[in-house]
Amino acid sequence: MQEFLQQLINGLTSGAIYALIAVGYTMVYGILKLINFAHGEVFMMGAMVSLLLAGTLGWTGPGALLVLLGVAVLACAVLGFLIERLAYRPLRHQPRITSLITAIGVSLLLQYGGQQVFGPTDRVFPEVWPALTGHISPGGVVISFIDITVLGLTLLFMLGLTYIVMYTKIGLALRAVSFNFDTASLMGININRVVSFTFVLGSALAAAGGLLYAIKYLTINPLSGLIPGLKAFVAAVLGGIGSIPGAVAGGILLGLIEVLVVGYVENGSQYKDGVAFVILIVILLVKPSGLFGRSVVEKV
């Protein structure tokens, strides 16, 4: 039982990181019906930027963490904005396959360009807040402070996101555009602004996810955004792509299932990366609209 609870905590934390990235995928898809393949790379950039900054500045303490967070969020927001502006907006009226291929191109560019700029080797995240290395053990279950930070920050970000989406004007515009693109533009909503805002918001969350990933797993290289990015996409599909609560639920569920497979299936750790894809196939077979999604009837 104790081991099970331990696995639960592990699953929750990795699931939280998936959730942060998945939200970005789901928001962009909800508005543009485009899978932003480059989103995983934005996540990686967030981790890279915070890693490099932590390395050069060498500050420590909770303040340093907040500064890193702020810088990473800012950097990724700009990156996300630029990607949308340069690669996706010119193709908004082209057939979907063009944007898909471009998204793949951007993803490759960031991965291998990052390899050229940052070097292909793994980099280690320096210790930023020494107090974080501790842990508490209620009832024998080890909960490290890092886990608490991850969960806490994720919760904070999710609350912030909910506030923005539900209680602000731009959030209302966002929901309107995701409901019906053309009618929203007819209602006087500045589509370009809303789309840019969506990308910025999604990228900010991905940046936070990147920082948390770097803190938790400690090694980053320019190609390490690919797999978590794909898994986050699967999480978004699992929860129902286009639905923000779905993305969160999907992320956490995926994290939990992964950890349970590793823990309880023989040789599970070798199949860990395959779990997400198997879940994807199963969901697409059984309920393609996802757990929280609504199945849209295609009108002819």
Partner: protein, 475 residues
């Protein structure tokens, strides 16, 4: 004018030269003859001794790229289905021909044993697949009792399978109640019986073949068998995922390809991460380019035929095609399966060329799949000659980049920057640039041959020649 004039048949031609038979021969014979000549001549002219082993390897890589790019063109370009998993099918073909080649063929002299391997494989996998399909159909039928029953049944089954697999790891022969692994064990026994009991008799049959025939026959069996295995994988991948839309399909195919690669990496008889070595290096220029030309011809004939028109119709507008009476699922699966068949053939040729295959990502993973996608897109979707040209160009690109590297000024070279290492960056810039500036690709969806097709039939211009008008909602 008498009525009989209008309805009388065309007069018989005066000479043979103007007859339909002559026209048909003239249209259909020269090109295949030329291709056969190229293949045979090339086999004797383009040898490692003549052009060097390194250049020979490049020539062979070009051939393999041509096969894979053309087969992907059928799926992506003509079928309009965005498949990101093509390298996975290549892997299936490579491994499921490399393994029998190493384990059963005794240096390709035992075609009967190889045949038995494939028979055993298809039988056992076929039975398993039939059972799964039956279960799936039964689960779907249970929807009549309650709409959410299928989902529940599938989830329960999945959980049971996981439990079953983890429990049965403790036993050599799983007990009867763990029916999933018991069934798998039974199928394994069936396979063993066919391959090993039959194998002893196979050697005698193979020895009875005329001298010198054993190896080519064995290789052909490997090519077809490997291709069929890949086609089977294409069927398994295609059937569930083909009702998904473009973006989902891309990820689903990507996922399947990764699952295939991970499965290979964990399969002990396939060498796990160490790879499969000792595969006889039987692929020669003649075999490779012969196969390449056959691939091009088959896909050309398919794409510019009635079936090809149906496939393209499904790509253009599925609902309209269905309204026209075209079975959309059948045609989508058809293009997928045939595309993966040839990918498998390419994999077989690849495995028997480099006698050592490993499940590494650069060869069989996402990066390779994307390379093929770049080839297809660069050449222009729905253009076979475009895919061939792009395959040649993109296989030669790294070599060119290496030469450019040597031309770089010393100052740049000292910084450690090398163009050839930025190959993937250049690919990605190429991809983005193409989509932004010329999404229809180099040839714009048309073929090199202007209007008449290769075999004298009239062909349509591809609809992707010009980008379509923006999708405006009817408000």
């Amino acid at each position: 004018m008498k009525r009989s004039d209008a309805i009388s048949p065309a007069p018989r031609p005066a000479s043979f030269a103007a007859s339909p038979l002559a026209r048909s021969l003239l249209a259909n014979v020269p090109v295949p003859l030329i291709l056969v000549a190229i293949v045979l001549l090339g086999n004797f002219v383009i040898t490692p001794r003549a052009i060097g082993a390194y250049n020979m390897e490049i020539v062979m890589q070009i051939g393999i790229a041509i096969i894979l790019a053309t087969s992907l063109q059928l799926i992506n370009g003509f079928g309009g289905q965005f498949s990101l998993g093509h390298a996975g099918f290549m892997a299936v073909g490579a491994y499921l021909s490399g393994y029998p080649s190493v384990a059963h063929s005794r240096d390709l002299t035992d075609p009967a044993a190889v045949l038995l391997f494939y028979v055993g494989l298809f039988l056992s996998v076929g039975i398993a697949a039939a059972v799964l399909v039956g279960v799936f159909k039964a689960a779907r039928a249970s929807a009549r009792l309650h709409p959410s029953l299928p989902a529940i049944v599938m989830v329960v089954l999945l959980v049971w399978i996981l439990f079953d697999i983890s429990r049965s790891a403790k036993y050599d022969t799983p007990p009867a109640y763990l029916f999933v692994s018991r069934g798998v064990a039974l199928l394994r026994q069936l396979f063993d019986v066919i391959v090993h009991e039959g194998g002893s008799r196979a050697a005698a049959i193979s020895a009875a073949l005329p001298q010198g025939w054993a190896q080519p026959v064995c290789f052909i069996i490997l090519l077809i068998g490997g291709g069929l295995c890949a086609a089977g994988a294409g069927l398994i991948v295609g059937l569930p995922t083909l009702r998904l839309r473009g973006d989902y399909l891309a990820i689903a195919t990507l996922g399947f390809a990764e699952i295939i690669r991970i499965a290979i990496q964990n399969a002990e008889p396939l060498g796990e991460s160490f790879g499969l070595s000792g595969i006889p290096g039987y692929t020669s220029f003649a075999w490779l380019y012969g196969a390449a030309f056959i691939t091009i011809i088959v896909i050309w004939r398919l794409a510019y035929s009635d079936k090809g028109r149906a496939i393209q119709a499904v790509r253009e507008d599925e609902v309209a095609a269905a309204a026209m009476g075209i079975d959309t699922t059948h045609h989508k699966v058809l293009s997928f399966v045939i595309g993966s068949f040839f990918a498998g053939v390419g994999g077989v040729l690849y495995a028997h060329f480099t006698s050592f295959i490993t499940p590494e990502p650069q060869v069989f993973g996402l990066v390779r799949s994307i390379e093929f996608v770049v080839m297809v897109t660069l050449g222009g979707l729905a253009s076979i000659s475009g895919a061939v040209l792009a395959a040649i160009a993109l296989t030669l690109l790294p070599e060119l980049l290496r030469n450019v590297d040597d031309l770089l000024p010393d100052a740049v070279r000292r910084t450690g920057f090398s163009i050839s290492e930025s190959r993937m960056v250049i690919y990605s810039l190429l991809l983005i640039g193409m989509m932004l500036l010329r999404p229809q690709g180099l040839l714009g969806g048309k073929e090199l041959w202007p209007r008449r097709g290769m075999f004298g039939r009239r062909r349509l211009t591809s609809p992707i020649a010009d980008p379509p008008e923006p999708e405006t909602a009817a408000l």
